[in-house]
């Protein structure tokens, strides 16, 4: 039954051919079919990606049930000679996901956290930003008289209270943080406070600065220390007028004019927040186009909807070489240089600058030198099983690194999926996470989401491996629910193999795109072919029909004998 599920987990990213993987797994499955987990996309894990508190409450309840079941093996019987079976350094979303799964697997688990449980995502990332976006999205809608009129609604002079919006974000973060903490405690995971350092193989010390340090032994170690906002040289962050996302999420003030350095996910989401709250925005992007990393077609449409009609302008192919905070009655001063020639390209005078140039791994002080591991630009080098590689290119036994610290895919849910994958391996089952099945989303209004390859990536791969690529598209303008919401702007794009119906990538720009992507990501994770998924039924009228139509729009070559996988019995 589950055999087909596992196949897709491993397929594309590994060097072995699909066939051998299939065989290997088929053999494996026939032995222990029940013990297999697929891809780590468990409900519990997905739960805290969501901002819905009710769902979180529900999932923590579920965890309590798990505890009862798991307590048969318990979190208290470590392998002989060790204090713990598994020690996780960092209680962010990655560490949390790994800990939950480890307890379920009967491992005695500890988690070391030097700051607050929840890490970046919960405290300074996805969670509070969703709160700001929810508030500002409504503000944008209420201000759009044309949009309101189309519903026959009249709204007089919408306004907001900055502190109220900021409080909403802060309250949400606290709530999610306590949910996370409680779920760990309820499972009996030991939360060790302090900075964790690796002393040697299977040996970790932890402790708060100025207090006694404790040394513990453990069978396996997972590094999950995450990342911090990266600030390029020459930029002086004062936390008031020159800020990073950490400060911006507190929404201490809404400037009239803010420059956002970097137009990736973070920059784009903040531009959505700030413009809705009345700011004007200037993007400074080092690459030659905005929104690098998105499928070009989606990026183009997104620019048309999210940038051009708003009070936003931009400078591309430029670096902000120097940024001086506002002081002595002068505005924030940004010096621009050409990204290639380094020639001066003028200055900007703005009220604030948000540095959203990306995130840098937080791996200092981990004691990696004690085990001969050299970071690469701060990232901990790992193989496709998150196994840490030392300076000689050899695997470090019993040491893994997940999440932003390894830089493979800097997303909260990716970290969690990686953690679960590692726990599987620690428990003796080989597991390779298919990163191409991990969705990503940008929560602008409307949202952008994607999974798998972009069209250029898919075409490049197809060229190398000698297969054809087809593209199908559907529009939100043809979707009843979207039109009922007066939100017909948007497209969904499917990149696939016309020979066997394999989904290579799906990109959505439109209303609730972030919630819609999972049908596609699950199909990729499970290896479901388009020929099969197109028969799945979608409730009418819902936005999910956008994907339904998308799958139905795919055209196949006549001789499509071998679909990627057998239909999945659920």
């Amino acid at each position: 039954m589950q055999s087909s599920i596992s196949l897709s987990l491993s397929s594309p990213s590994i060097t072995r051919s699909d066939r051998t993987v299939v065989d290997a797994f088929a053999a494996n499955n026939s032995l222990t079919p029940r013990s297999l987990r697929f891809c780590g996309l468990r409900r519990e894990v997905l739960g805290f990606k969501s901002v819905s508190s009710t769902q979180l409450v529900a999932s923590s309840k579920r965890r309590q049930l798990n505890k009862v079941l798991a307590s048969l093996s318990g979190n208290g019987t470590p392998t002989k000679g060790f204090d713990y079976d598994l020690v996780i350094i960092g209680a962010g979303v990655g560490g949390h996901g790994a800990a939950l799964h480890a307890v379920e697997k009967g491992l005695k688990t500890a988690i070391i956290e030097g700051d607050v449980v929840g890490g970046t995502c919960v405290n300074r990332g996805c969670v509070p930003s969703k709160a700001l976006l929810a508030a500002s999205g409504r503000m944008r809608e209420l201000q759009n008289e044309h949009h309101m009129k189309a519903f026959g609604l009249q709204v007089a002079a919408a306004a907001y209270d900055r502190q109220g919006v900021a409080d909403h974000a802060n309250n949400l973060a606290s709530k999610i943080r306590s949910n996370l903490t409680n779920s760990l405690k309820a499972l009996g995971v030991d939360i060790l406070t302090g900075v964790g350092t690796i002393l040697g193989p299977q040996k970790v010390k932890y402790g708060k600065v100025g207090f006694d340090e404790s040394v513990i032994t453990t069978k396996d170690v997972i590094i999950a220390t995450g990342s911090v906002p990266s600030v390029p040289k020459g930029i002086e962050v004062d936390g008031k007028t020159v800020i990073t996302s950490d400060h911006a999420l507190k929404l201490e003030f809404v400037p009239d004019w803010i420059a956002i350095v970097g137009s990736g996910y973070i920059g784009l989401e903040f531009s959505d927040v700030y413009t809705a709250l009345g700011s004007e925005v200037t993007f400074v992007e080092a690459l030659d186009q905005l929104m690098p990393g998105f499928d070009p077609e989606i990026g183009k449409l997104a620019q048309r909807v999210l940038i051009n009609p708003r009070k936003i302008d931009y400078h591309t192919s430029v670096f902000a070489s120097k940024i001086t905070p506002a002081k002595d009655g002068k505005p924030v001063l940004i010096e621009l240089i050409d990204a290639k020639t380094k020639e001066p390209k003028g200055t900007l005078e703005v009220d604030a600058a948000l540095i959203a140039t990306g995130r840098a791994p937080f791996t200092k002080g981990l004691g990696l030198e004690n085990i001969n591991v050299e970071t690469q630009r701060g990232f901990v080098p790992v193989d496709e099983r998150m196994h840490v590689i030392d300076a000689n290119g050899k695997l470090v036994p019993h040491l893994y690194c997940i999440g932003d610290a390894n830089g493979k895919m800097m997303l909260a849910h990716a970290a969690s999926a990686q953690g679960i994958s590692v726990v599987e391996q620690v428990c003796g089952k080989d597991h390779v996470l298919n990163h191409l099945s991990i969705p990503a989303a940008c929560f602008t209004h409307p949202e952008i989401s994607m999974v798998g390859l972009t069209e250029p990536q898919a075409r490049e791969k197809a060229e190398k491996e000698g297969f054809d690529v087809s593209v199908a598209k559907t529009s939100f303008k043809a979707n009843t629910k979207a039109l009922a919401e007066n939100e017909g702007e948007g497209i969904a794009k499917l990149i696939y193999r016309p020979d066997n119906g394999e989904i290579l990538g799906v990109h959505i720009f439109g209303l609730h795109a972030a919630d819609l992507i999972h049908e596609a990501s699950n199909a990729i994770a499970m290896g479901t072919s388009i020929q099969d998924i197109k028969f799945a039924v979608h409730a009418h009228p819902t936005l999910s029909e956008v994907l339904d139509e998308l799958f139905k729009a795919a055209k196949f070559k006549v001789n499509n004998s071998s679909p990627v996988a057998e239909p999945v019995a659920v």
């Binding site: 008289e145 007089a156 009345g278 621009l336 529009s475 043809a478 017909g488």
Partner: protein
């Protein structure tokens, strides 16, 4: 010689996938051929959808006449009706096929590609200057707020000049290129291009709600704005929205003095320079700034609240619609004009009798009054004149009577063009169409902003006299009260009862003096009292 005008309205449904509701194109082209009894009409737009992002268009091109001919007008707007409508109510229509082609140089306009599009950006010119084009070929790719569209030409010819270059933005309806018919005309077209780029189109961008009466935006003062440099060293600091607005309104940002924090140019500065009412969203910003607790020290001080009116608890604030804010702007603007008023009682018994007679033929009182006013204006051209610059008279060649109509919380003045020349029945028919269009918000700009004299009639409410405000850009407005039976004593001392109405004209005293107005009113009164000439 009559100047004939004809309109044809085309509405086409776009392909199903593409904006099933919103994207309907309605283009009206007016071409007036002064001194020629001929009409030329250009058909427009045949949607020819290829892919989601590429829709083909036939370029709108209209003839540019080379003699001393009043400027041709072209306009486009959008509607959300679905059915085909062709309103061509003029006898001139059948004649159009036989008309000789007068023009050789045609303008390629920025098309309206969606209902929300006010400006378009030229993504790329597929053809370059000097290329020979044949009908149906893609010439230029335009980026609207929705998508990139190929724009095709409907005419054969040579692309003589590109007026709006790649990466530049032009408002809907503005010429973006010139098409010459023969090689000889290329030079001429180029000269034209040079002129037209320095005299930007005054067509207001098509809006979904028609701007209000006489909302003739003052012609943008600026020369063709050199594209605002986005990179490179600059001294002028303008906010992103200010730059966008400047581009949209063709304001040379270098000529604007910034009043924002640190002397930067803000959207409000551009709006002031363009002479337009502050946009709704700016107000919303101010509101949100005001609602924001004091920002940290580094933040600029919040703008001082503009009004000090006491807030009455329980009151609701409803922001102006586009139409209402334009009315508001015009009304405030009117304060700068020195106006005076002259009233005159007019006996209407004869007019009432005539009205009863022609009413079954579809003639309305509005048409009668407009016709009478137009005939009087023909004899007193100064009352049909206006003062645009404070230094000169502008005598209008045609008599276009704007008639104020209340409409859904707004006010609009559809214009009866050449009211002195059209006969009463045509005028009535025309009026009916204009009112229908006004209700459907489908009036073209030249159908509400080309008035030279305004008529406002509140008689039907029983108002006996009132005072109208002179709309900016016009010389005079006539306020007509109700016709009431009045006891009159004649010169022999006999009393009789006659119907009389009071008309009250407000005029700009810079060009129209008391005697002018009095003489005009006397003529008007004579026409109304002997109304037979109205039907001739």
């Amino acid at each position: 010689m009559l100047t004939l005008r004809s309109a044809q309205t085309l509405q086409l449904t776009p392909p199903r996938l593409l904006r099933p509701f919103s994207l309907l194109y309605l283009i009206i082209l007016f071409i007036s051929l002064y001194r020629f009894n001929s009409i030329q009409l250009n058909e427009l737009i045949k949607p020819n959808s290829k892919t989601l992002n590429s829709l083909s268009f036939y370029t709108m091109a209209s003839s540019l006449l080379q003699s001393r001919i009043p400027a041709i007008s072209f306009s486009s707007s959008l509607s959300s009706g679905i059915q085909w409508r062709a309103s061509a109510a003029f006898p001139a229509k059948p004649r159009r096929k036989s008309s000789p082609v007068q023009a050789k140089i045609r303008e390629i306009f920025m098309p309206a590609l969606s209902s929300t599009m006010t400006e378009g950006k030229i993504v790329s010119w597929i053809k370059s200057e000097g290329d020979v084009l044949s009908k149906g070929e893609s010439v230029v790719v335009v980026e609207s707020d929705k998508a990139d569209m190929d724009v095709e030409t409907f005419y054969d010819g040579i692309l003589a000049a590109i007026v709006v270059g790649e990466g530049e933005t032009a408002p809907v309806g503005a010429p973006i290129g010139l098409l010459a018919e023969t090689e000889e005309e290329i030079g001429e077209a180029k000269a034209k291009a040079a002129n037209s780029s320095s005299a930007p189109s005054t067509h207001p961008p098509a809006a979904s709600t028609p701007p209000p009466p006489s909302a003739v935006a003052p012609p943008p003062p600026a020369k063709a704005a050199a594209p605002v440099p986005t990179d490179g060293p600059r001294k002028i600091v303008a906010t992103p929205y200010a730059k966008k607005l400047a581009k949209q309104h063709k304001i040379d940002i270098n000529s604007v003095v910034g009043t924002g924090p640190f002397g930067r140019i803000t959207a409000a500065d551009i709006e002031a320079a363009a002479g337009i009412a502050p946009s709704k969203s700016t107000i919303a910003n101010v509101a949100s700034v005001a609602a924001t607790p004091a920002p940290v020290a580094a933040a600029p001080p919040p703008k001082a609240a503009a009004n000090n009116f006491v807030e009455i608890p329980g009151s609701t604030v409803v922001p102006f619609t586009t139409m209402q804010s334009a009315v508001s702007k015009n009304m405030v603007e009117s304060l700068s004009v020195p106006t005076f008023r002259v009233g005159y009682p007019v006996a209407t018994d004869a007019l009432d009798t005539l009205y009863e007679k022609v009413k079954p033929k579809g003639v309305t009182m509005t048409a009668l009054l407009a016709k009478a006013a137009a005939m009087a204006l023909a004899q007193h051209p100064v009352v049909n004149a206006s003062c645009k610059d404070g230094k000169s008279f502008t005598y209008n060649s045609s008599i276009n009577i704007a008639v104020a109509v209340a409409i859904n919380g707004g006010l609009i003045t559809p214009v009866l063009q050449d009211a002195d020349k059209l006969d009463l029945y045509l005028l009535s028919q025309k009026w009916k169409e204009l009112v229908e269009k006004a209700r459907a918000k489908q009036l073209q700009p030249n159908e509400y902003n080309s008035g030279t004299f305004t008529l406002s009639n509140l008689g039907m409410f029983g108002v006996d006299r009132f005072d109208a405000i002179l709309p900016p850009g016009q010389g005079a407005i006539m306020a007509v009260g109700a016709s009431k039976p009045t006891v009159v004593a004649d010169k022999d001392g006999f009393f009789s009862v006659k119907s009389k109405m009071l008309v009250n004209v407000t005029a700009d005293h810079r060009v129209i003096y008391g005697a002018d107005l009095a003489a005009f009113l006397q003529t008007f009164s004579k026409i109304v009292e002997n109304p037979d000439s109205l039907t001739m």
